[in-house]
């Protein structure tokens, strides 16, 4: 820390930052555009001009750009200097030369950084009296709208899209005052993080296209802190709602996880909530037809079903801890199924065990960004955990940061650091069967079958620690590769091994764990990160339960009278024959879900459950972080949280049948969590993931609407002019209205949106942070159940290496090894009910090694029957392997299998 003088006031400031950060952290309102906390400084916009004085006797000073000037001891600056103020006002006036001033029809209006900064400089009126230039806008696909005339050319979009996220289809074109930011031609922005342009762009050039169809001003929306449900990473989001419909999802800063960036699946996947596939009322199957019935009829029907015999509950890795636990409380451990196949469950539980056992570090996404050597072992993280993939992409910048340190160039001096690091070798090694988006920044992208990758992994572990079992019969090439990678990892201060469940291979997981453990002997910071499939996979793994196979056995034995299935479409886990057998063997199936999945059509009773935006609950991410999401929408009567449905069912049962009889008495989420903590002590800290419903700030609930939300009585004046009591929830400390406390010091887990005096855009976030890009002012978001910041034990106990090294992969001539090709859009369940994401899902293709492509279309004989698929050659794909999109061809295809492959009967050459 050092002291600098800002406008005559001495401020204690961090060293190593720039003067813009220092001013913002000191609470000064200094306008800026091109600087972004995640992108660093480039000095393009010239908006943050201030006066710097060389000493106490310097009265003249000189204009400098705050973002390009490092903090140094005894710096004396003035933001208030008339010359600096005048220059900043001029910058706004220049930007406005070609800006259309179309705020009233602009979707950025009311949350526009350009508006905020304009007001901040006080510039008014504009004096430019000539013609403005106009640009042609582009169709950028289903996610992002384009209105180039609003552009102020801050270059943030291309710096984010190209430099940060690795995209190549958005660029700056032309020059002088005609610079154009767009694609070479109209077309969909392909990068997985394109939606962030909506938040990165300081004005309305890039706006949220799906949001546009149900557009509402920011100040008229209710906000709630939420957690993304579209993968297991656990990114933090803000959900915005109005008139009890979910309107959009925004990024919510979590210093450890997603920080400033969300993937497009997370940002645009929420469309399932308002999709036509949504279930709105209880449905009862009467005479083969599903008809809508009142809640009471539905529950009485359940009571009659329950009287017939034993109930088995099937939970889901996409349901909350509370919902899963309520089901457990209803049926007890003997009848509680995780809703996963045995293999899947074993893999998930193995991940949990390996993470628990890992002697090194379990890095957060943000910590992964500073890993100085990364090995990706058989997981396409860019598809399965996109935000994690983006963090790995950032890790390759470590070498350039070290170069910059050597050249005494601050790390935030973005362009300079990128120049210095231009030729730095990458430290990322990608070993996967198929190409990944990280290949282009990897030192080495090596293709092999999952078993061979696992063997390489074990060999690397043995190179690092001779106590790890050796791998015999490695080819000389592979042995050399193992040695090379082992040495890279050993030379690193913060090595990281990433693997996951994409190929359902315990050997891959074990190999990754062995390498990380071997590294941790000498390098306590050695990290391990394992990707899980769904948003609460880890939470469910920590609860445990029966597998679907066990339930099938019970059903075959006639031991199940009623199946209560919560938020789980079993057709994604079991082949059609098994689903049919289960449906036939069980007299009654009760589905509790929000979306009409294929399985819902087979149920005798369907109960409409609240989606993530309509209730509150807790999820445990793959790195074991328990995080709570909160309700933004108050749905109409029959829709309620999963655990409340289970409770309603319980109330229609004989209390003696309940495993935990307290179930019927739970009043709110806190009661559920308290009972969960008793039943599952390892999950007990999840109670503290966020403050309980009784939390008060300054004696008040927290408001979830903005202070200037339009009058709540006016909104429904066409129905009734009388004031209505606002809806409420016993589960949260939020009021549903604009009444209540709000401010930068509120707990990080409870921030429903960012707004501060003079700051209406998402960039108001800086007011909620203790340090720019650092921790929030009040606490972390979420709580990790397993945590190790590095092995503290100087002499760790020896790691028990497993010796289950698979045999070398051998391509077969009669069958192919079908690997699930997980797609960013298309493989994840819920986002595929969201119209914009559906529009982005590519048509299924069958990927084959080039020499196996004998015709344009081929027939793949999977467990559920033959599938005719267009064929696409995949460079580098090992012989005998076929890539089939996960869940898109055969619904249940999530793990590798062997299958026969034929030429299509028509033999067509074209695809």
């Amino acid at each position: 820390m050092t002291s600098i003088r800002i406008d005559g006031r001495d401020c204690l400031t961090r060293t190593g930052i720039n003067l813009l950060q220092a001013c913002l952290e000191a609470g000064a309102n200094l306008p800026y555009f091109c600087w972004h906390p995640e992108l660093g400084s480039v000095g393009a916009c010239r908006q943050c001009a201030i006066k710097q004085f060389s000493g106490p006797d310097d009265t003249k000073g000189r204009i400098v750009m705050a973002c390009m000037t490092p903090v140094s001891e005894n710096t004396i600056i003035s933001t208030d200097d008339p010359e600096a103020r005048d220059f900043r006002a001029s910058i706004i006036e220049w930007m406005m030369v070609n800006h259309p001033h179309d705020c009233p029809v602009c979707e950025e209006g009311g949350e526009c950084h350009l508006q905020d900064m304009t007001v901040m400089t006080g510039h008014n009126p504009r004096r430019y009296r000539f013609t403005k230039r106009t640009h042609r806008n582009q169709d950028l696909g289903p996610f992002v709208k384009h209105e180039m005339n609003r552009c102020i050319a801050c270059y943030r979009c291309v710096r984010f899209y190209r430099d940060y996220a690795g995209g190549d289809d958005l660029a700056a074109f032309a020059s002088h005052d005609n610079v154009y930011f767009g694609r070479a031609a109209d077309g969909t922005l392909e990068n997985a993080f394109s939606g962030n342009l909506v938040e990165i762009c300081p004005t309305g050039v890039f706006t949220d296209k799906p949001f546009s169809t149900t557009y509402t001003r920011k100040w008229d929306m209710r906000g709630a802190p939420s957690i993304c449900v579209h993968c297991a990473v656990g990114c933090n989001t803000i959900v915005n709602a109005r008139e009890e419909t979910l309107r959009r999802v925004l990024n919510r800063y979590n210093t450890d996880i997603n920080r400033y960036v969300l993937c497009d699946r997370g940002r645009f996947g929420h469309g399932f909530v308002n999709a036509p596939t949504r279930i709105g009322t209880p449905l009862r199957t009467i005479g083969g037809q599903q008809v809508s019935v009142p809640i009471t009829d539905a529950l009485q029907a359940f009571a009659r079903m329950a009287a017939d015999g034993p109930i088995v509950g099937i939970a889901s890795a996409r349901a909350t801890l509370e919902t899963c636990f309520s089901l457990y409380a209803l049926v007890g451990p003997q009848h509680f199924c995780t809703g996963q196949t045995r293999h899947e469950q074993e893999c998930v539980e193995l991940v949990h065990a390996l993470l628990t056992r890992h002697p090194g570090a379990l890095p957060t996404l943000h910590e992964m960004e500073s890993a100085d050597a990364v090995l990706v072992l058989g997981e396409d993280a860019c598809a399965t955990a996109p935000r994690l993939g983006l963090s790995l992409r950032q890790s390759v910048r470590q070498a350039s940061f070290h170069m910059a340190d050597g050249a005494k160039v601050p790390r935030w001096m973005d362009a300079a650091v990128r120049t210095l690091g231009a030729e730095c070798p990458s430290t990322l090694h990608v070993l996967t069967p198929a190409p990944t988006n990280l290949d282009s920044v990897a030192a080495e992208a090596f293709r092999a079958a999952p078993d061979d990758i696992a063997r390489l992994g074990f060999a690397i572990a043995h190179e690092i620690d001779p106590a790890a079992p050796p791998v015999t019969d490695l080819t000389p090439d592979d042995a050399a590769r193992a040695t090379r990678i082992a040495h890279t990892l050993m030379a690193a201060r913060k090595p990281l091994v990433v693997s996951g469940m994409q190929y359902g291979s315990p050997a891959l997981l074990q190999a990754a764990s062995s390498i990380a453990a071997a590294l941790a002997r000498a390098t306590p910071e050695a990290g391990l990160s394992l990707v899980l499939p769904e948003c609460n996979s880890m939470g469910l793994a920590m609860m445990g339960g029966l597998s679907l196979e066990t339930v099938m056995e019970q059903a075959r034995a006639g031991a199940i009278s009623t199946l209560v299935i919560v938020e789980n479409d079993l057709t994604r886990h079991l082949p059609p024959a098994d689903v049919a057998e289960l449906v036939a063997a069980v007299p009654d199936i009760v589905m509790i879900d929000h979306t009409a999945t294929p399985l819902c059509q087979q149920a005798s009773l369907v109960l409409p459950v609240a989606a993530f935006s309509e209730c509150s609950g807790t999820l445990v991410s793959q790195d074991s972080r328990a995080q709570r999401f909160f309700q933004a929408v108050f749905p109409t009567a029959p829709i309620q949280a999963g655990w409340r449905w289970v409770q309603a069912l319980a109330q229609h049962l004989d209390p003696s049948m309940l495993h935990i009889s307290g179930l019927t008495g739970w009043r709110d989420l806190d009661d559920v969590l308290a009972a969960l903590a008793v039943a599952f002590p390892p999950l007990a800290p999840a109670v503290m993931a966020a403050p309980g419903a009784d939390y008060r700030m300054n004696g008040q609930k927290l408001r979830s609407q903005t202070y200037r939300a339009s009058g709540r009585t006016v909104i429904r004046s066409f129905v009734n002019v009388h004031d209505q009591p606002p809806p409420g929830s016993p589960d949260t400390p939020f009021s549903s209205s604009m009444e209540g406390a709000y401010g930068p010091d509120m707990p990080a887990t409870l921030v429903p949106g960012y707004q501060a005096p003079a700051w209406n855009s998402v960039q108001a976030l800086n007011r909620f942070q203790h340090e720019i890009g650092g921790d929030m002012r009040d606490g972390a978001s979420g709580l990790r159940l397993l945590s190790r910041a590095g092995n503290q034990n100087a002499d760790p106990p020896p790691y028990a290496y497993v010796n289950d090294i698979p045999a070398p992969y051998a391509a077969r001539t009669d069958t192919v090894l079908v690997l699930p090709d997980t797609r960013l859009f298309g493989s994840e369940e819920l986002s595929m009910f969201s119209p914009p994401v559906m529009a982005r899902a590519p048509a299924p293709t069958l990927g084959l090694p080039a020499d196996m492509v004998t015709s344009g279309r081929m027939v793949l004989h999977l467990e559920d029957g033959p599938h005719v698929l267009p064929v696409k050659p995949v460079p580098g794909l090992p012989a005998g392997i076929a890539l089939c999109p996960a869940h898109m061809v055969a619904r249940a295809l999530r793990f590798p299998c062997m299958a026969r492959l034929d030429r299509a009967p028509d033999g067509g050459e074209g695809s």
């Binding site: 393009a44 270059y155 005052d177 610079v179 170069m403 300079a416």
Partner: protein, 304 residues
């Protein structure tokens, strides 16, 4: 080499070919074990590609925008590697300095600066052209002896001593020695040493408009003041020259000259350079500006 200079480029390639044939370029030059080669890169044809760091960025195949320093090119230049960026004019001095010694070179100058300089004169002079002369040669000598003086019927009114981005000097400054210190003392810059002459029958505002059109068009578009300020200046000058100027326009021109002219406010020296002829022109030709606005026309254009 700027993209449009096809003839110069062809000649350079020819010369390099000759040198290579003689064994003066390439691997193991004249059996010395020393290898050296020259590669001529034709740029995208943008003025900014001549800026030291934008030149490097352009060479890397990226948009020609200047870079911030540090790192300086000498430590982190082309693709992050140490790079020396020099004009060919500078490099041409090296063989002579090495052959004849630094003192000989320093003695070539007439004033404080050493060596020679390529001077040029354009405008309504009898023999426009470029000449290598001892640095510090007086301006009058260059114009009268080498450029042959003004074309009969034209009077010298003012001049830009060092090219488009230097401030105007009026006819009283003809005896200034063309070296760095002397020209600066006279209120302008030596710049490229290529003087542009304004005669008495050409409208100074038309000339400044022409210059500002060039600068506005050649702005790389990276920083706001330059990108959006220069076109504004151009349009103001357009309006004044076309007879639609307003009194407030003079305030706007003055404001731009002040805001863009000071160093450190724009990312590189392009906009300050663009403001040098404007700022000096506003003072030197104040009466012409006023006449344009009052008469709502260009007096010289309509008189011609």
């Amino acid at each position: 080499m700027r993209g449009e200079y096809h003839l110069a480029c062809a000649r350079l390639h020819h010369a390099i070919g000759e040198a290579r044939q003689q064994g003066w370029l390439g691997k193991n030059i004249l059996g010395s074990g020393f290898s050296f080669d020259i590669h001529v890169h034709s740029s995208a044809g943008r003025y900014i590609c001549g800026e030291e760091t934008a030149l490097l960025t352009a060479l890397e195949g990226r948009r020609a925008t200047p870079r911030s320093k540090p790192p300086f090119p000498q430590t982190g230049g082309l693709w992050g590697a140490p790079s020396v960026v020099n004009n060919v004019e500078t490099l041409c001095n090296l063989p002579h300095i090495i052959t004849n010694g630094p003192e000989w070179f320093a003695d070539l100058g007439l004033g404080e600066d050493g060596g020679t300089k390529i001077y040029g004169v354009s405008g309504r002079v009898t023999r426009p052209g470029a000449w290598e002369l001892p640095i510090g040669t007086p301006l009058r000598q260059i114009i009268e002896d080498h450029a042959g003086g003004m074309i009969p019927g034209y009077q010298l009114r003012a001049l830009l001593p060092g090219g488009a981005s230097t401030a105007f000097l009026d006819g009283t400054a003809l005896d200034v020695a063309m070296d760095y210190g002397s020209v600066e003392k006279a209120g302008s810059r030596l710049g490229t040493g290529m003087a542009i002459i304004l005669d008495d029958r050409t409208c100074p505002i038309g000339m400044i408009r022409n210059l500002e059109h060039f600068f506005a068009q050649e702005s790389c578009g990276w920083c706001t003041p330059c990108r959006d300020g220069l076109p504004w200046v151009e349009r103001l000058l357009d309006a004044i020259e076309d007879g639609t100027g307003q009194d407030e326009d003079m305030d706007q021109l003055g404001r731009h000259a002040r805001m863009l002219g000071a160093p450190g406010r724009t990312f590189c020296a392009h906009a300050p350079g663009a403001m040098a002829p404007l700022a000096s022109g506003l003072k030197l030709f104040a009466a012409d500006f006023a006449a344009h606005i009052q008469q709502r026309r260009c007096p010289q254009q309509s008189g011609a």
